[in-house]
């Protein structure tokens, strides 16, 4: 026994081992967080790196001679004349004047620098201001997408530049002189989808998303909260309510595309509702969000301390009064948080909306719940699958907008919880 280490020595040894174990465990935790964080950083860096140029547009500012004779136009208020007039010629002529050494023979190449929609812009400007006819104006037009790509990604091997050497030289020259410049891409935020990447915007998708979310919110929140209150406060505890409970939990785990199929079969085929509209999208997303809202609302109701319930019952409040006056106000922050998180989920949902036709190519910004629309994540899906490389940066930019919406919704949820819990 004498050569045995003393008890203090044994404890010391085991302590060392324990501390080592503790340190190792902490290291695992830090490693896990580091992996998660770096994945997030890589994701953000990739999206932002690819997408920030999406927030820039390339435009050409030049002096345009709005010569009526050249345009075959003598009355800009005449719709028929506007339709027939040539709005391309003044643009080409203006750009030829801007480029030293360019001649009438280069007109096709020069035309290739100007956005095809520039003539529409010019037409609309003349329609608005008929008195501009036969004057010379300094106007700004979108450049051709090929110019846009060249200006933004000249040295990038991932992009193929479609301009020829002559055109590149011109663009370089014009860039230096400030005729071509890049600025904030307001077109991206003010228009709908387009086949031309320079002209494509996400306003249509944003409005579509907002309309869809509105339908989802006004349906899923009251239904979800009412279901949670009934199940938690009024429903008898029996096999049937157990069955309902299990199935609500199961619904939360159903793949979202199934809800899309359901929406297609029920709302569109059975009820004959139109395709691609925010109402149907909202209905489908309501079905998808309901379980989340019900589960989180029930958790919030459960977390209301029983002492408050007892206090109200002890004074003689009826069941309904206990729920309305005490349980609901106290559970509200939790319910709102759950609902906002459910809504954020719905906002990012793509698959079910593909099935109900919200994947269609829609140029116009929707102006109602029954107007064809698409939503942000579907817009990302559409652009990401587009063959034109210029759409990639738009897709990334749209992802950033979507993320901004999601982050602000989650921030709102946190703020609301903090704010409402203070009364507690």
């Amino acid at each position: 026994m004498t050569d045995q280490p003393s008890q203090a020595e044994l404890v010391r040894q085991s302590l060392k081992r324990r501390y080592r174990k503790e340190r190792r465990f902490r290291a695992y935790g830090i490693l896990a967080i580091a992996i998660a964080l770096s994945a997030l950083v890589i994701l953000f860096a990739d999206i932002i790196g690819k997408g920030y140029t999406g927030f820039m547009k390339t435009s050409i500012t030049m002096e345009v001679n709005l010569d009526g004779e050249m345009m075959y136009l003598d009355d800009p208020t005449d719709k028929r004349q506007l339709k027939m007039a040539d709005f391309v010629e003044p643009l080409v002529q203006a750009l030829i004047r801007e480029i030293p050494g360019a001649t009438e023979e280069d007109r096709d190449e020069i035309r290739g620098l100007i956005n095809p929609y520039a003539s529409v812009t010019l037409r609309d400007a003349l329609k608005e201001n008929p008195d501009w006819l036969n004057t010379t104006r300094t106007m700004t037009f979108l450049s051709h997408t090929d110019v846009d790509v060249y200006v933004k990604h000249a040295g990038d091997a991932g992009y193929s530049i479609k301009l020829d050497e002559q055109q590149k030289a011109w663009v370089d020259e014009l860039l230096e002189r400030g005729v071509i410049e890049t600025s904030f891409n307001d077109v991206f935020f003010s228009g709908g989808d387009s086949r031309d990447p320079s002209k494509a915007g996400i306003l249509g998708a944003i409005v579509g998303s907002l309309l869809t979310m509105f339908v989802t919110l006004i349906l899923s929140f009251p239904i979800g909260v009412a279901a949670a209150i009934y199940l938690e406060e009024f429903a008898p505890q029996n096999k049937f309510t157990d069955f309902i409970e299990v199935n609500i939990n199961n619904l939360a785990a159903v793949p979202s595309i199934i809800f899309g199929l359901l929406g297609l079969a029920v709302f569109i085929n059975l009820f004959g509702m139109p395709r691609s509209v925010p109402v149907v999208g909202g209905l489908v997303l309501t079905l998808m969000t309901l379980p989340t809202i019900i589960i989180s609302s029930r958790a919030a109701i459960k977390s209301v301390p029983p002492s408050i319930r007892e206090a109200a019952e002890g004074i003689g409040a009826s069941k309904m009064q206990v729920v309305l006056h005490h349980v609901l106000p106290l559970a509200m922050p939790g319910m709102l948080t759950g609902s906002i998180i459910g809504m954020a989920q719905a906002l990012g949902e793509t698959a079910p909306l593909l099935l109900i036709g919200m994947v269609a190519f829609i140029v116009d910004v929707p102006d109602g719940f029954f107007d064809s629309a698409t939503v942000l994540p579907v817009q990302v899906f559409l652009w990401a699958g587009s063959p034109e490389l210029a759409f990639i940066e738009r897709a990334s930019a749209a992802i950033m907008v979507l993320l901004a919406f999601l982050i602000s919704m989650n921030a709102l949820a946190i703020w609301m919880r903090k704010r409402l819990e203070r009364r507690w």
């Binding site: 505890q237 301390p305 002492s307 408050i308 319930r309 007892e310 206090a311 109200a312 019952e313 002890g314 004074i315 003689g316 409040a317 009826s318 009064q321 006056h325 005490h326 106290l330 009364r423 507690w424």
Partner: protein, 295 residues
């Protein structure tokens, strides 16, 4: 525990033929006969008339055939070791057990000769007459004023703001809280000290002018000074209300109550005038408990 369900003790019912004398050495050996209570469980001027009350939680029987009268304007204290059923019994008096699904109550419970558990009985009306104060202060997370005004509001006791103001002031005065809070009636109740919160809960309970106030260990979460204040308050309230108080503190029972009922494992063992219970208990179990041999 196991011996207690099957009945009988020689002391509780010496006249009963079926009793088997048991050694009186240890209190846990003593067996209580069901439904037998020594002392004076009945009263001529009964507010509550409770006969053969049994309470079941699922299969287990928490209260075993208790019969008791609670007199008008008396303060009666329920004492006994933990888990003896005194709180459960108290909560039968205003049907607070209703919200527990597995809880069933049997027997006859009458308030002013009307059955409490009658299916036609409106529990809201019952609770307006039989108020309750709980173990932990549980003010609503609202203002002090709203806490007291809540009861009168839901029962429609005040039609005008001035009436309501008056009720609130009177209730707070009775609870001895008015001077402390009159300048901050809009402050949240949860910001008050524990003792103030509990007195606020008492004010809230008496704001609906109940006939009976049930108190479930109202001082167990309070410090001695706050406890003293609440006890003082109970003494004052006893002039106008019937008060049933459950307490773990025998000193408290001795200080505030007129009668004391001793509960043991679901049985009501002994009821008598408080000084009698504490000076010369009739039942062996009561004596063991109050002398601190267990509990």
């Amino acid at each position: 525990m196991n011996t207690m369900n099957s009945s009988i003790t020689s002391e509780a019912s010496p006249q009963d033929e079926a009793t088997v004398p048991v050694p009186e050495s240890k209190p846990t050996d003593t067996v209580i006969e069901e439904g037998k209570t020594v002392g004076k469980p009945y009263s001529d001027d009964a507010k509550f008339k409770l006969r053969d009350v049994e309470v079941f939680y699922g299969e287990s029987r928490a209260i075993k055939k208790i019969s008791l009268d609670i007199a008008r304007n008396e303060v009666i204290a329920f004492i006994g070791p933990s888990g003896c059923g005194k709180s459960t019994f108290l909560r039968c008096l205003n049907r607070m057990n209703d919200s527990i699904d597995i809880c069933r109550v049997k027997g006859s419970l009458q308030l002013d000769d009307q059955d409490i558990y009658d299916s036609k009985r409106d529990v809201v009306e019952l609770r307006a007459r039989v108020g309750m104060v709980f173990q932990k202060p549980n003010p609503f997370p609202k203002s002090i004023y709203d806490n007291v005004a809540y009861g009168p509001r839901i029962h429609g006791l005040a039609n005008r703001k001035s009436d309501l103001d008056e009720i609130v002031e009177n209730s707070l005065r009775k609870a001895g809280l008015w001077e402390e809070v009159k300048d901050r009636l809009d402050a949240t109740a949860t910001g008050m000290s524990g003792g103030q919160q509990q007195r606020l809960c008492i004010a809230r309970a008496i704001a609906v002018s109940p006939e009976v106030v049930l108190m479930d260990e109202p001082c167990s979460a309070l410090d001695p000074i706050a406890t003293a204040k609440v006890e003082e308050l109970i003494a004052e309230l006893s002039e106008s209300y019937t008060i049933v108080i459950v307490t773990h503190s025998m000193q408290q029972a001795a200080r505030v109550s007129h009668r004391t009922a001793y509960f043991h494992l679901g049985h009501l063992v002994e009821v008598n005038e408080t000084n009698k219970v504490f000076t010369s208990p009739e039942h062996e179990l009561t004596e063991s408990y109050i002398t601190g041999r267990f509990g």
